[in-house]
Symmetry: C2
Subunit: 116 residues, 2 copies
């Protein structure tokens, strides 16, 4: 068992799918105990975006701070602090904070399908 | 895909293992999209506790608010806001907020081992 502040996890720039001004920290990954799913913390700075993309892994998300437009859902969908977001397997999705004034920060849990 | 405020999920009293002043909301459960792991939100009110217990399911936890003593770890271990806690499979654990002055609120992700 361990308890660590999330800032102790390395903050890594996200470049996937043309993302901008976005970082990820692997809070619980394979090297830190994850068996079949991993917990990450994403931070999309003001002006940042994770563009539309898709993959087999579903997402279970909890928003810690800020708000962003959800890309790939219904028009006008916003995810904001205290929201739970679920993205099914293979559904295109993205998060747009290009017009935001604070970081959009969220927990995102993902299955380790390839056992990485 | 959906986005809902966590307050839209039913708040259920936890009685497992003699827990007191503790509630759980299943944010993403089997009926709301979870395939192999579920996301819950626990709230241990001031004076509350989840006593020492164990089970095969590991926990990946993120603390949203407050602090609590971790039972079953090292003496004096505290989990507090912005901490990541990992509880391995079959390790006895619990959370003690009996001396706290605010709710200890955390996200807890658990595998659906029995496919419930």
């Amino acid at each position: 068992m361990y308890a660590v502040n999330y800032h102790e996890r390395e903050e890594i720039e996200v470049t996937l799918a043309g993302s901008q001004k976005t970082t990820v920290r692997w809070l619980v990954g394979k090297r830190t105990g994850a068996k079949t799913y991993a917990m990450r913390l994403f931070d999309i700075k003001p002006g940042g975006i994770i563009p539309l993309h898709e993959h087999a892994e579903e997402h279970e998300i909890f928003v810690l701070q800020g708000q962003a437009k959800i890309i790939g859902g219904n028009d006008g969908d916003i995810a904001k602090k205290d929201d739970v977001v679920f993205v099914p397997s293979n559904q295109p999705h993205g998060y747009d904070n290009t017009e935001g004034t604070e970081s959009f920060r969220f927990i995102c849990v993902i299955p380790l399908l390839d056992n990485e």
